[in-house]
């Protein structure tokens, strides 16, 4: 820190220096203005909620703060002194710590080894000593985690605690949590917020990035809403705002509530999908699905809840016949099935093929001309489909693999949900979508249900499941530990099931 910077920092009388102050930050990627004139101030001892839709510029902003991107314009101050972090290591040296959504821990290493990787210490790993320090810190912050456990064997919640501990032990005073609650059970969210409150009480600054408005209202002292790369709203005490007001700030217009007439589920007699004692191996050869009994009936939407990696992926693949069962049985009837895979890029995208070419890769009859495909006819059919589905796909001549995750998802959703089927299997259908398209996708699933299809839908958003599902199957460690009727369901008891307890 240069001396005149210190002088300037001290010159601000009356106000405590902000832990982090971002002034007029702008960043452009080609045609896209990802951030424009963004201001953000985080005071010590406060929680700052940062909300915005996918593509609103949240991650660009975070990456500039964390030294991954260099801003085109604007300035940043830490403790009042100007800084320009050129790498994550620079940012960490400034006391900025980031807990990524995908958690950067190495699964094969222990918690202590992962933390050792981040600490600049000597050539010998003093793991016993380090374990003692980890235990001490974990007690101080209420972040219970076993230092000698292999990360692979930890739950998502435990991994997150380990990651936060790592960030704190490397000396972070500003902790950025990137969508920390999207993978947690409600109980774990409460525990996490307990930790966040404690960090705040110890004078640290916390930036909480989320799209769950209730969370911002519950815990943030300040809120900043980004839309189209710009700050739309910056206010203290977000508790004073309603969900509708915050959504309007995020989306730019009012979003009407889910508007699909929901008929009662017809009598459940001939299921479209029956799993009886279905057991299947995961990709690493471990038993990932353990004796699952589940039936999906025509005209109902069954939600699947569970913390990430509890067997949801294998359940969907078994239901679709993509993954063999080692014991038990699967009966998906004779009707057509459509599916949205958990990992669309790996499972459904053929690199190099266009959107239009992907539209004929769904097993339906293809319009022919001579020996070839009648592409104009496919184009016309696709246009009709796009119009009816209403998810506004990217132009059909674009190469699918070059599109963003949300746009790929919209193409696949259009192709799959645009056709009639007896069984619909949708894994995380709204992943990467903005509020309006998420809403439309939920409507499409409910339309399938209304037409008499059986719908199996996996989501990590419990609120979404409660809003659209008739029943929710809760998974934990490969088992379906309970099937709850959504009418009168209670988040907390579903959460207990997700964590392996009894409702």
């Amino acid at each position: 820190m240069s001396t005149d910077a210190v002088a300037r920092a001290r010159g601000r009388v009356g106000k405590p220096a902000a832990l982090l102050e971002v002034r007029s930050l702008s960043k452009r990627f080609g045609e896209v203005q990802a951030n424009w004139d963004v201001d953000l101030t985080v005071l010590p001892g406060t929680v700052h909620g940062l909300i915005g839709e996918n593509g609103a510029g949240k991650s660009t902003l975070l990456k500039m703060i964390y030294g991954v991107y260099t801003p085109d314009e604007g300035r940043m101050f830490v403790d009042g002194a100007p800084v320009a972090p050129g790498s994550p290591a620079d940012a960490r040296a400034l006391g900025i710590g980031m807990v990524f959504q995908d958690l950067r821990l190495v699964p094969a290493l222990t918690v202590a080894e992962n933390i050792a990787l981040a600490l600049p210490e000597g050539p010998r790993l003093r793991l016993t000593q380090l374990a003692a320090r980890i235990t001490e810190a974990s007690e101080a912050y209420g972040l219970a985690v076993d230092p000698s456990a292999q990360v692979r064997h930890l739950s998502i919640g435990e991994r997150q605690r380990a990651e936060i501990l790592k960030v704190l032990m490397t000396g972070a005073r500003l902790v950025i949590l990137d969508e920390p609650t999207s993978v947690l059970a409600p109980q774990e969210v409460e525990a996490l917020f307990g930790v966040v409150a404690q960090l705040r009480d110890r004078g640290l600054g916390v930036v909480l990035v989320t799209h769950k408005l209730g969370e911002v209202r519950a815990i943030a002292d300040q809120v900043t809403v980004l839309r189209g790369g710009q700050v739309i709203l910056n206010a203290e005490d977000p508790g004073n705002f309603s969900d509708a007001e915050l959504v309007e700030a995020m989306v730019g217009r009012r979003v009407p509530p889910l508007a699909v007439e929901r008929a009662a589920v017809p009598p459940r007699d001939h299921p479209v999908l029956t799993l009886a004692g279905a057991t299947a191996l995961g990709d690493r050869g471990h038993v990932a699905l353990k004796g699952v009994d589940l039936a999906v009936y025509p005209g109902e939407l069954v939600g699947v809840a569970g913390v990430a990696g509890s067997g949801q992926k294998e359940l969907c693949e078994v239901a679709l016949g993509l993954r063999p069962v080692t014991s038990g049985s699967v009966d998906a009837g004779d009707g057509a099935a459509v599916a949205v895979p958990e990992d669309p890029v790996a499972d459904s995208v053929v690199p190099g093929l266009t959107v239009l070419e992907h539209m004929v890769l769904d097993g339906r009859a293809v319009p022919r001309r001579g020996l070839g495909v009648d592409w104009p006819a496919v184009g016309a059919r696709t246009a009709v489909l796009d119009e009816r589905v209403g998810l506004h796909m990217a132009p059909t001549r674009r190469t699918l693999s070059s599109l963003s995750g949300g746009n790929i998802q919209r193409v696949l959703l259009t192709r799959e949900l645009g056709q009639d089927a007896a069984l619909v299997v949708a894994a995380y259908p709204s992943r990467g979508l903005d509020v309006a398209n998420t809403r439309r996708t939920q409507e499409l699933l409910l339309e399938h249900r209304a037409r008499g299809a059986g719908v199996l839908m996996v989501s990590e958003d419990l609120d979404e499941l409660i809003a659209v599902a008739d029943r929710i199957a809760v998974m934990h460690d490969g088992h379906v530990v309970g099937v709850v009727d959504t009418a009168g369901a209670d988040r907390m008891s579903i959460g207990r099931l997700m964590l392996g307890g009894v409702a």
Binding site: P88, V106, P107, A108, A116, P123, L125, R284, G285
Partner: protein, 303 residues
Amino acid sequence: MIIDILAGAVRGGTSIMYAGLGETISERGGVINLGTEGAMLLGALGGYAVTAETGNPWLGVLGGALAGALLSLVHAVLVVSRRANQFASGLTLYFLALGVTSLFGVSYVSRQINAFTPVPVPGLSEIPGLGPILFDHDPLVYVAYVAAPVIWWVLFRTRVGLLVRTAGERSEALEVNGYSVRAVRYCATVAGGALAGIGGAHISIAYANSWFENMIAGRGFIAVALVIFAMWNPVRIMAGAYLFGAALSLASVLQTSGIAVNQFALNAVPFVLTLVVLAILGRRTMLAAPDELLKVFDNSRTT
């Protein structure tokens, strides 16, 4: 005879052990090197040539290590910097090494060298049974006793080892913490090649005490398979290497004791053993595989 076979197992397994330890380091760092056989060949010739020219087998070991390291450096350039297919690069380098050593080895065929000789450990070599099996060998055998646990310690108890393992498990975690994946993989691959080179040198300057074309005869490939059986653990490599050493020594011991068995059938024993172990373990070993290697196996990608 049992003692002869076991002593032969230790002596014959040593070269496989060096190569297996080297390949363990390389694969722990995320690079599969099928060129291990080639690195051993170069090590065998390099070791033999340096020993022949200098008269000092220890300098021969150094020469062998350098020769093996050099070949693996080429592999590292191809797969780490150029992101070439690891299997293609490794196999090609093996054939290159086979050709190069045949060509330049001609002048060393039937040349005499000052080879390593057995150095009985005072006292310990007198123990009945155990003495001749473990403590009446050339110095490289004793170095190997120490090498396996030391490499285990380095991999699991030092920062360098942590970096290597992270490179093999989740390389972006290195970048996030400010380390270079490239540098770590280069070091791991080259160190692995150097150890394979020492293994090769052991064959030419301590085991066979001669040089002839293709003298490694598949030991390098056995070492690569052994790394999988041993689940990337240096201490298990030690045990596995001696098992294969026993399979190798069976032939010579049976021969010297006058039992007539088809030579070609006996030569096949280590490879049949490899297939049997692979069949028994099947997919199970892959549970222990470094994650970045799974990417190589599953998609033939090298990133």
